[in-house]
Subunit: 310 residues, 2 copies
Amino acid sequence: MKGGPTVARTQGGFELKPYFDTRRGTIDRALITYLNTSNLEDADIITAMRYSIEAGGKRLRPILCMATAHALGAREEKALPVGCALEMIHTYSLIHDDLPAMDDDDLRRGKPTCHKAFGEATAILAGDALLTRAFQLLTEHALQQPAGQHGQWLKIIAMIARAAGYEGMIEGQMRDIKAEGMALTADQLEQLHRLKTGALISASVEAGALIGNADPNAFKKLEEYGRSIGLAFQVADDILNEEGDPEIMGKAAGTDRLHQKNTYPALMGLNAAKQKAIDLVNQAVCSLEIFDNNSDPLRSIARYVIERQR
Amino acid sequence: MKGGPTVARTQGGFELKPYFDTRRGTIDRALITYLNTSNLEDADIITAMRYSIEAGGKRLRPILCMATAHALGAREEKALPVGCALEMIHTYSLIHDDLPAMDDDDLRRGKPTCHKAFGEATAILAGDALLTRAFQLLTEHALQQPAGQHGQWLKIIAMIARAAGYEGMIEGQMRDIKAEGMALTADQLEQLHRLKTGALISASVEAGALIGNADPNAFKKLEEYGRSIGLAFQVADDILNEEGDPEIMGKAAGTDRLHQKNTYPALMGLNAAKQKAIDLVNQAVCSLEIFDNNSDPLRSIARYVIERQR
């Protein structure tokens, strides 16, 4: 965010950029591998699925999932397949959100949106296919784990389905559409944001916590962390849409205002929205108090969530 | 199918109509219950999900799943949750197929299609939500089973995801769209049909077989049965689109010809297509030779698949 109040920095020399860059590379390679393992030799739909996956993005959800597992002393790689499934779900939601019947966006991450590149029918199917592939990946990966862990894996998958579905992300998107041009209260807007973006970000943290076998208290703290950064992310997104650089974001700015979307800047003004984002991030960092240095990436990611330029 | 060759009748007094009617009632009630269990008090998207689920339909996939479990001596109810998940996946695929960017259909089962009733954005989301709900239902149901069965349940869910996704139904739909106005060979058409409709029908039978703990030979025979009726179903669908009664079907006839779709009647003529459907059903019934009377419903369903009027 440009100007205004700033977030408290934690100690330590943790460097977020190289941390993100190496993980992004690992995640990108894994995603492509997972899309290349179709039993069908010449699946047509894969081209469009891969196009949207390869358009890049922050890979925030897989990184969060891996960083949370790491905070609990588990190997990051243990969380990689789940992280990739979360990224597929996130990407499908973007493809469908960009459709003419929804937000009608032409650009995403600086490239033509999926329906602009392949047509609407293919974009709808590519989204459907990424969502389905996510659950295929999750269940096939779970099957490769020791039998004693199958129950834990079912729990992870059920939790992700809940977060992505009609009790989470999809309902949030539905409310977002219905609220266009209507004035929401602060409570309604918070609930909408918690569903639309928060649910899947929280699920990324909670999946990492389950993979890292968090005890109940650690799980509760990580859940709090996830809820705080989930909402902070969407507040920051609202602010970016208002004052971000379209060149860096790879998409147009000011579209929320144009569509009379309910946003934090619209509801409370730009500076108050920035303060809210900072408060949420400070809350998130506080939730990590009980963890050791292994949770430094989570602390840095919390700050990144509101300091990012795209 | 009207006129032309007929399929060999098996012996026994099994009555399909009352069999279907009671199961349909059970399935319909279960589907509504599963949609009413959201943790969110006032989810907006549920109205559209329920609308399409309540539009009815044959409930062929859940009935197949339950009948297959029964053929192996298991209680039908054991397969009910999986059957409901399969029906949710089927219903989502119909909602998305009906969209203006896809088949652009106004009527489905005699009622306005989901996007006609609720608008395109809601219809896209309702489809997404039904697909996600299916995987939530499957994993939550699996979690309620004894720990020793969790692996078997993961296998069932992975198999369904494969059948519904880019190696199955979605790729079939993609090829169907791409092939409009192009002449496919008989092999290409068969492959398309096996993916588009066959995969999920086969998965319904295979899920029932896994729930009923089929031994490898029984599983192979049921797999053959599923493949045969899966293809027979689509051949019959092509024939119905050509000569069915729009009143009974609740949708327009002749639309395939209008859109220059690749169909069996178009490829080989109406009578040869009817003979093909009958051959497939006879093959399906032959695959059941090793099973006892408990498989009578499966035999009757095989005939129903091509004798149905809608």
